[in-house]
C-alpha cells in the first residue's frame, strides 16, 4: 500500500515558505529517493499577503500535486491558522508560531504551539531563518524525511555563505522537536 503525506507551510510572503517547501521536496525526492511535488499559492505582492507552499510526498506517482487532506500544517500567522486548520485531516499535526497565533482554536488535530520565529531570532540570531527552524521541527516530529536528507537539501539550496546559519537553525528545530518528544507533548514518530 503506497502512502501520500501532505504538508502545507503557510504564513505571509517573505517568510521563505516557498523555499522551505522546495527544500523539503528535494530532501524527500532526491536524497531520500521518494517522490515529491511542491507548489505554492501567493498574491501579487513581493512581501506580505497570504502565502502558502505545499509539499506532497509519496512512494508512488503523485496524481494531484496539491493538498487535499493535510497531514501537517505549519501556520506562521493567525490568518493562515484560521483559513487552513479546517483542511487538516483528523489526527493530523498543526504547528503554530505561538508568538503571533494568539487564538489557536483546538480541533480534531494535534496542536503544537511553538515560538518558531522567537527561536530563530534568539537562538540562531536571525528571525529570517524561522523557515529552516520549522523544517528542523518537522524533521524531528515526523519521520517523513530523514534528517540527513534535509541537511543535504538545505546545504544545496540556501545562498552561499549562509550554510552555517541555516545548519544552526535546522539544529535548533531538531532540538525543539526532541524537547517536545521528551516532555511527551508529542509522541516519538514511528517509521
Amino acid at each position: 500500500m503506497s502512502f501520500r503525506y501532505e504538508v502545507r507551510l503557510s504564513g505571509e510572503g517573505g517568510q521563505g515558505l516557498v523555499l522551505a517547501g522546495k527544500i523539503l521536496a528535494e530532501a524527500a525526492a532526491i536524497y531520500d529517493n521518494l517522490n515529491a511535488t511542491q507548489s505554492q499559492s501567493y498574491g501579487p505582492e513581493a512581501r506580505g499577503g497570504a502565502s502558502r507552499s505545499e509539499v506532497i510526498i509519496s512512494d508512488d506517482d503523485i496524481d494531484y500535486p496539491k493538498a487535499v487532506n493535510i497531514d501537517l500544517l505549519l501556520a506562521l500567522t493567525q490568518e493562515s491558522f484560521d483559513r487552513y486548520s479546517t483542511d487538516v485531516k483528523p489526527g493530523g499535526i498543526v504547528i503554530v508560531d505561538e508568538e503571533v497565533v494568539k487564538q489557536a482554536v483546538p480541533g480534531n488535530f494535534r496542536l503544537l504551539k511553538i515560538p518558531v520565529t522567537q527561536l530563530a531570532r534568539e537562538k540562531a540570531g536571525r528571525a529570517l531563518v524561522a523557515n529552516i527552524v520549522a523544517l528542523g521541527i518537522i524533521a524531528g516530529i515526523s519521520k517523513i524525511v530523514s534528517e540527513n536528507a534535509l541537511k543535504m537539501a538545505i546545504g544545496a539550496r540556501v545562498p552561499r555563505g549562509t550554510e552555517e546559519l541555516n545548519n544552526k537553525a535546522f539544529q535548533i528545530g531538531l532540538d525543539e522537536a526532541r524537547r517536545l518528544i521528551k516532555d511527551k507533548i508529542i509522541e516519538k514518530p514511528g517509521k
Binding site: E26, A29, I30, T37, P44, K66, V68
Partner: protein, 381 residues
C-alpha cells in the same frame, strides 16, 4: 540547476519548458516578463547565451512576437513566453505567422483574467483565445501539458510540429503546471527526435509558397541568397499579394489542409482507464491532475471512472470523443474556466450522452474532493 542528461532534479514546469526549448534547438528568445511565465525568461536569459543563442527583453509583447517571427525567417528556431495580457497583445502577429507560414513557438502560462485579472493564480481561461484569438479562418495547433515532464516533452513537440508544418504552435500551461515543482529525470538527447523545417533542395526556380502534396512549402532562410516577399496579405506562390479569387481560395484551403489532413499525427490524447469505464472525464492541464485523483476516489466507491485526456487541445480530438460516446454513459468536463472546452465536447458528442461541466474561476485549483462530490451528486449515488 544543471542541464546535463539523465540527472534527477526537482524543477518547475516553466524551467522544464525552458530547458526543453534549448534541447529542441531554440536559439532566439524575445519576450517581456509576466507572471506566471517569468521563470522561462529568467532561465533563458542566463542559459541561452551560453548556447550561442540570443535573448532579448523587448519593450512589450507585440514587439516580442514580431522579433521571433523575424528571427525565424532567417532560419533560427524562435520562441516567446507570456501570460494572458501579453497573449492578447500577440494575437495580430500570430495571424501573421499563420498566413506567412513562419514557424515559432508561443508559450502562454495561463492566469486568471480578463485583463490583468489574477497575476499569480491559475486559470484555463485562454483556451478559446488560443483557438480564435487572431482573426480570420485558420487552423491552430495548441498543446496542453499536465506535468513537469510533459512540459519538457511538449515543448520539444511544439517546436517539431511548428517546423514540420511551418506554423506557429501554442503551448498552453496553466499556472499550476508552470509553477509546480516535480521530480524529473532530464532526458538524454538521443531519447527524442528533433525535426527541422523543409528547406528548398535547390535555388533554381524557388517559389516560397509553392503548392506541394504535403501542403507545406520548403522555406528558404533569409540572408542565404534566395530573396522572396513575405506578407500578411493573401498571396500566390511567389509570395506577392493577389486578389485573384482562385489563388486566394487555393492559399486558404492549403493552409487549412496542411493541418487537417495531418490531424492524426498532431492530435494526441491519453486514454486512462477507459476500457471498463462507464463515466469519464475530458480534461487537460492541471484539471486532468485533479481528475486523476478523483478517478481513484470514484473507483474506491465503486464507480467505474476513466479519462480521455487532451494532450493536444487544438485541433480538437472530436473523433476520439465521438468514438467513446456510447460506451461512456456520461462525460464530465472539469475546467478552470466557465466551460470553454465543454462546448466542444458537447458538439463532438452530438447529444448521444449527457455532458456535465464542472467549472472553477476563483483562482483556486479543482479540489478532487469537491469534484468527487459533484460527480456523485450528478449521478445520484
Amino acid at each position: 540547476m544543471k542541464n546535463s542528461s539523465n540527472t534527477i532534479e526537482i524543477i518547475s514546469g516553466n524551467e522544464a519548458c525552458a530547458m526543453a526549448a534549448l534541447a529542441a534547438g531554440m536559439r532566439f528568445y524575445a519576450g517581456y516578463p509576466i507572471t506566471p511565465s517569468s521563470e522561462i525568461a529568467e532561465y533563458l536569459s542566463s542559459r541561452l547565451p551560453q548556447y550561442g543563442g540570443v535573448f532579448i527583453q523587448m519593450e512589450d509583447e507585440i514587439a516580442s512576437i514580431g522579433a521571433i517571427i523575424g528571427a525565424s525567417l532567417t532560419g533560427v528556431k524562435a520562441m516567446t513566453a507570456t501570460s494572458g495580457p501579453g497573449f492578447s497583445l500577440m494575437q495580430e502577429n500570430i495571424g501573421y505567422a499563420l498566413m506567412a507560414e513562419i514557424p515559432c513557438v508561443i508559450v502562454n502560462v495561463m492566469r486568471g483574467g480578463p485583463s490583468t485579472g489574477l497575476p499569480t493564480l491559475p486559470s484555463q481561461g485562454d483556451v478559446m483565445q488560443a483557438r480564435w484569438g487572431t482573426h480570420g479562418d485558420h487552423q491552430i495547433i495548441a498543446l496542453t501539458p499536465n506535468s513537469v515532464r510533459e512540459s519538457y516533452d511538449m515543448t520539444i513537440r511544439a517546436f517539431n510540429l511548428s517546423e514540420l508544418y511551418r506554423t506557429p504552435v501554442i503551448l498552453l500551461l496553466d499556472e499550476i503546471i508552470g509553477h509546480v515543482n516535480e521530480k524529473m529525470t532530464i532526458p538524454a538527447a538521443e531519447e527524442y527526435t528533433i525535426h527541422q523545417r523543409p528547406r528548398p533542395a535547390s535555388t533554381e526556380n524557388y517559389l516560397p509558397y509553392k503548392i506541394t502534396p504535403s501542403g507545406v512549402p520548403p522555406m528558404a532562410d533569409f540572408g542565404t541568397g534566395l530573396r522572396y516577399h513575405v506578407t500578411g496579405l493573401a498571396h500566390d506562390e511567389t509570395g506577392f499579394p493577389t486578389n485573384n479569387p482562385d489563388k486566394i481560395q487555393e492559399l486558404l484551403l492549403r493552409l487549412d489542409r496542411k493541418i487537417t489532413q495531418n490531424s492524426d499525427d498532431i492530435i494526441e490524447v491519453e486514454e486512462y482507464l477507459l476500457e471498463d469505464a462507464e463515466i469519464a472525464f475530458v480534461a487537460y492541464g492541471s484539471a486532468a491532475r485533479s481528475s486523476r485523483h478523483t478517478i481513484k476516489l470514484l473507483r474506491d466507491s465503486g464507480i467505474k471512472a476513466g479519462m480521455l485526456r487532451l494532450k493536444t487541445l487544438w485541433p480538437f480530438a472530436e473523433k476520439q470523443i465521438a468514438h467513446y460516446s456510447g460506451h461512456i454513459k456520461t462525460w464530465f468536463v472539469p475546467e478552470l474556466n466557465l466551460g470553454q472546452i465543454a462546448h466542444e465536447v458537447e458538439w463532438a458528442v452530438r447529444g448521444r450522452v449527457p455532458v456535465f461541466k464542472f467549472n472553477k474561476i476563483n483562482g483556486e485549483p479543482i479540489n478532487p474532493n469537491e469534484l468527487h462530490q459533484f460527480v456523485k451528486e450528478t449521478l445520484h449515488v
